[in-house]
Amino acid sequence: MEKRDLYAYAGKILRVDLNSGRFAFEPTAKYAREWLGGSGIAQWILYNELKPWMTPFEPANRLILSVGPLVGTLAPGGSRMSADSKNPLTMGVGSSNADSFFGSQLKYAGFDHIIFQGKSRKPVYLWIDDDHIELKDASHLWGMTTWETVDAIRQEQGDEDIHLVSIGPAGENLVREACIVQDKGRTMGRCGLGAVMGSKNLKAVAVRGSGSIEVAEPERFMEIVLQLREMFKGSNSSKRFEKYGTPGVIVPKQETSGIPYKNFQELVLPDELYRKLDVEDLNTKYKVRSMGYPACPQPCSRYFSVNEGPYAGLESEGFQFEAMANFCGKLAVGDPTFQIKFNAYCNQLGLGIDLPAQTIAWAMECYQRGIMKSSDADGLKLEWGDAGVILELTRKIAYREGFGAILAEGSAKAAEIFGRGSEYYAMHIKGQDLYEVIRSAIAWGLGACVSTRGGGHVTSSPACETVMAIDKKKAFEVYGVTTANEPIAFEGKVKLVEYFERFHRVCNSLGICHFCTTWLDVLLPGFPELAELYSAATGWKTTEADLRRATTKILNVEKAFNLIHTSFDRKDDYPPQRDLAEPIPTGPVAGFHLTKEKWDKLLDEYYEMNQWNKKTSFPTRKCLEDLGLSQIIKDLEKVGKLGGS
């Protein structure tokens, strides 16, 4: 093989100006060494190119699709792609991630990133076929669901194996948490990036790539891949995960009060509902076969066929636990096939599931408490568990019809519009609808509340606290704490968040699925293993310390973005009022009360760990100097947000 300048990366960034229809290229090498890849590079580009006056839906906003250096190789779990932009829900950092076939195809076509700016005068889709790049008319696709769009583009191109990302009606109608759907079943679900795409009249991006990805040390790389795959064989968590996917966590989540029921009024499911959602039954009754993504040793997805009940005839790739918790927990729907239906419906509409689940839960609790009436909701009776009403409201949200137009803004803004004391029941972090139960797992909650993108449980939170029986000795070795699976213990939790804030960014920059790492099980690949893999892939000797430093830089870039573009500071790192006001009412940790005093101590410790000012949360000069981020020091000084030490 000839020697190359850059290994593992595809090598090129494609810039698309939707105003003019012109393309430009720049080398990934400009950013790769310092910012790793994927959303790490994307966030640095957004920090430099977006000004505070650029709003999410205006042409000047950039939308960046990214694929990390380990995607398109046999790195275990190396199939992820990211979307990054300014977040329509929070006005700050927006970043979302999904499993994909699109990612590796984009790399085989020669690209690591696509940066969109401007707005097309009419609907278009971008077609990339190796070095053939074209903006094609999508007027005939506008209005279609994402599933219809996939079928139409595959037919148009005469190839059933083209992979694409697209938006549905929710994105076209700028619903604030509209999402970008990869093929028919994986989504970049958070942060409303589908709406950003819709605001640009960009319906889809389709790709086919026939090129190759080379790694710097092929033999060494494969040796490491085989060693890492062995780690999965020794993990019981991996075996269970492959069998049930994330819905399997319903068992430990029920045992640790981790499931939102009726808008977080309770944190466990009633026994009868819990039994109906049994995951063994789900597989037995509805699973057709497993589905997997490139390079993953534990295919955790399932294709379902519903053969009974109101949704008989529906076939779809399955759902995550988040869907189960949102639809059957938060909205109290007792039909297990509803999870499959609602997940499929949201995918078709291109609607992130947290928004409909949380806004409808907010409305239903307001109705329960007499704050809202049917006449406020287009005549609908907002009774808990009414699947028909939930589906109708979801349709209204996607099309911004009637009451749906208010819900389409997310629960924080909907409550602001509606008033009448409904704000208490709008569960959100920094304006983004909340799925995570905060008050029954301390590191999980802290990670979600301080997350730069507004909530989210992968951004900085550990799964281990509530979902696995942990090898304590190995956990101490890997995380440095002894309380990793003690949800309501406070000790060691800031250290856990420190680990996962950085580790999450390693995964999202390199393109590795969290479930193929220490996020799922301490016995799986972590920092040292990914550093070795990245070294052999790129030929750049990289250690755990190098990865931690790079991702600490990325974290501070995101923090600075939020400080420059929003008014977020310490006050926005708190849980919703309900989590601090109400002790857990029932279940295994009934009576536990997460108070403001306890949260304040936690935040103080967290800011100190990050070298951020305790009063304001602003990064200190020392923090940024240590990271070599002198430009950010100047930028924060200009806006009066450089943290005093």
């Binding site: 093989m1 398109g72 190789t73 046999l74 076939f101 590796s104 085989y108 059933e160 194996d161 790539g209 026939s210 090129g211 190759s212 990805i213 080379e214 790694v215 092929p218 494969m222 064989k233 492959e242 057709v288 076969r289 497993s290 589905m291 997997g292 993504y293 490139p294 390079a295 993953c296 040793p297 534990q298 295919p299 997805s301 294709y303 076939e315």
Partner: protein, 100 residues
């Protein structure tokens, strides 16, 4: 199973394949030490009108794909090695059928 008259390739209708395509990457790596599914001896394709995956095995080099050498010299073919362990029996059987 369908055998093309012009090109020596066999199409198998899989029953348990999860469609991940990991085998394609492993195969191209075996041949050329790069990751390039477009040259792989094994191609996983979406079925056009229903959910499911077909596996096409090229027994001769054609249509841009390198003919399968059944990884002679290796104890287990690369594609089978890379297939998730709970699913690889089907692939192993397909290869055996393809060899005969």
């Amino acid at each position: 199973m369908a055998k093309s008259k012009r090109v020596d390739k066999i199409t198998f209708e899989t029953e348990t394949c999860a469609g991940c395509g990991t085998c394609e990457m492993a195969c191209s790596f075996h041949h050329k030490k790069v990751f390039q599914p477009s040259i792989s001896s094994l191609v996983i394709k979406n079925r056009p009108r229903e959910f499911g995956f077909d596996a096409i095995l090229y027994r001769e080099s054609a249509e841009g794909h390198i003919g399968c050498d059944f990884c002679k010299g290796l104890p287990v073919p690369m594609c089978v090695q890379s297939c998730p362990s709970t699913l690889r029996d089907e692939l192993d059987n397909l290869l055996k059928m393809g060899r005969d």
